[in-house]
Amino acid sequence: MKPNLATLPKPRLAVEFAGLKLKNPLMPASGTFGYGQEFAPYLDLNQLGAIVTKGLSLNPKAGNPTPRIAETVSGMLNAIGLQNVGVDAFIREKMPFLEQFDSPVIVNFFGNTQEEYGEVAARLNDVPGVAALEMNISCPNVKHGGIVFGTDPKAAFDVITMVRKRLSKPLIVKLTPNVTDIRITAKAAEDAGADAISLINTLTGMSVDVRTRKPRIANVIGGLSGPGIRPVAVRMTHQVVQTVKIPVIGIGGIMRAEDALEFLIVGARAVQVGTANFVDPNALQTILTDLESFCVEQGVEDINDLIGTLEL
């Protein structure tokens, strides 16, 4: 007879890293969850391990021309271009809403120059309710900043060092997969004082409409996300976990609890769910429920007992 799941003790899902206490290892990936408010009608934000905001810059940013998105096989290309309200408007208009929840708020940010990175970090450093910052050195869709810092280990080291000086809150650095060896940038981030690493951002890609012979997104090249990139993301997470001592957050094509578990088993301390939020605004809630069921079925009392248990 099957055990009655309802009467079994609930597994412990809480994880801790870089001074952050998360109720569970699930959080949205930046840029797929707006500023949180957009998803409040569909799920309880208090259920999330953390809330991760859309990337913020010093000044508001218009973003790229449309079309900005195109579906591909098992994924999508996007070139939104980091459209955002700017850090000051975020603090003024978006933070009061986010502060109502007891899930830690992780604010994603980027800059066009080292100085801008430093300035945004400094402004967020004093904001109560911001638990940690996630630094984007990996966006493929903007001309300046973003990936320029993420693909050159020396530039990455310098900009992270600069941010570190102006930030006392925990710093997560989000890496791009569009490099020859991601372990080198991961090491540079660790050496520069990052408290944690999150990976991967999107893979650069392109798609062509064969009838109009035009690129399917206006920016020509965009970032590929979705279930199709997951094996790449799991591989890179595995490699980085083996390379650095700081905690790693796995990201890339997580649609279901099983997908999240892949990242945890290779050693990620938490995961971010991205494109799945677009497909189903309730995705994080569903993955959480299924993660719990998985633990019960497998006799896992504490999710931490699963992390980094890859059998080789």
């Binding site: 957009e38 079309p67 900005r68 998105i69 579906e71 994924g75 459209q83 189903d280 605004p281």
Partner: protein, 292 residues
């Protein structure tokens, strides 16, 4: 209580297809079991449709709601069966999968979403201008008007096969005018010519339009020249439908690089007052955006 009601309104419904029929070559009409839509969905709102748990397509597809209705309960004591109807044209990978669905197939619906048509005087003269599949959101609008004898439907298409459901509008008491580019049904030519004629006759009429961007652009030019109020329902590529992906943005009237005024078609639209939009820059982006 209120917030609970709101939550209910926005939920992701796991439901089934009731019927799915080809009503004209390439055009399908799908009836979907949808408890909770009746009385809550406004004319012009849309749903995000997902073929349940199947891959591909990965992303949902947005569709305007054609109509909402109900069927008698299967047996005594059961609630009546509320449904919504979508009409779609098979144009890409998403709609290719949809055309294969049958009665009883399981799907997911997110909605009703977005801002619908704003109707301030239900009894005044109204002109509804639809291009091809663009007439879909106009049906609920027409149905919601009090005096439909003062409502005119102008519907244009490439050929007679693109003119759908006109008789249903007529059954509501709406007068219809049809044009086709090849002259196979109604008058030969573009629907905008009829719009000018009707506005000569009813200069105070309010105009509501949905269709391909070149048509909307022409409708906007006519209405702004005559200072006639116009609301348009836009189509856009979108991934989420809830304002997060920012894939479906259009430029607002005040938009500039320094002060971005991007509007989300899914949240601030799909229906816009024409004066909210930057028409000079709308056409170009929509031309590029045609696909699945």
């Amino acid at each position: 209580m209120r917030s609970e009601e709101k939550k209910h309104k926005m939920k992701n419904l796991q439901t089934i297809v009731l019927s799915n029929q080809e009503i004209s070559p390439g055009y399908f009409r799908m009836r979907i079991l949808a408890p909770g839509y009746k009385g809550t969905a406004h004319p012009g709102q849309f749903v995000m449709f997902r073929v349940r748990r199947s891959l591909p397509p990965l992303l949902r597809r947005p569709f305007g709601i054609f109509q909402i209705g109900s069927l008698p309960a299967d047996c005594e004591g059961m609630p009546e069966k509320e449904f919504i109807e979508l009409i779609y044209k098979v144009v890409g990978s998403g709609t290719e999968v949809m055309r294969e669905l049958h009665h009883g197939d399981r799907i997911e619906l997110l909605g009703p979403l977005g801002r619908g048509f704003e109707i301030d005087d239900v009894a005044g003269d109204k002109i509804l201008v639809g291009g091809g599949i663009g007439l879909v959101p106009l049906y609920m609008l027409a149905d919601s008007l009090a005096d439909r004898s003062r409502t005119r439907l102008l519907i244009g298409g490439r050929s007679r096969e693109d003119i759908i459901t006109v008789t249903e509008f007529e059954r509501l008491g709406v007068t219809s005018h049809v044009t086709t580019e090849d002259g196979s049904l109604g008058e030969e030519g573009l629907i905008t010519r009829i719009l000018e004629r009707k506005l000569d006759k009813y200069p105070k009429a309010k105009v509501y339009s949905c269709g391909p961007m070149p048509m909307l652009r022409a409708v906007e030019a006519i209405c702004s020249a005559r200072k006639v109020a116009l609301q348009v329902s836009l189509e856009a590529l979108m991934a989420c439908g809830v304002g997060a992906c920012l894939g479906c943005v259009v430029k607002g009237r005040e938009h500039s690089e320094q002060n971005p005024d991007y509007l989300c078609t899914c949240r601030q639209g799909p229906v816009f007052h024409s004066h909210e939009l930057d028409w000079d820059r709308l056409e170009k982006s929509a031309e590029q955006g045609k696909s699945s």
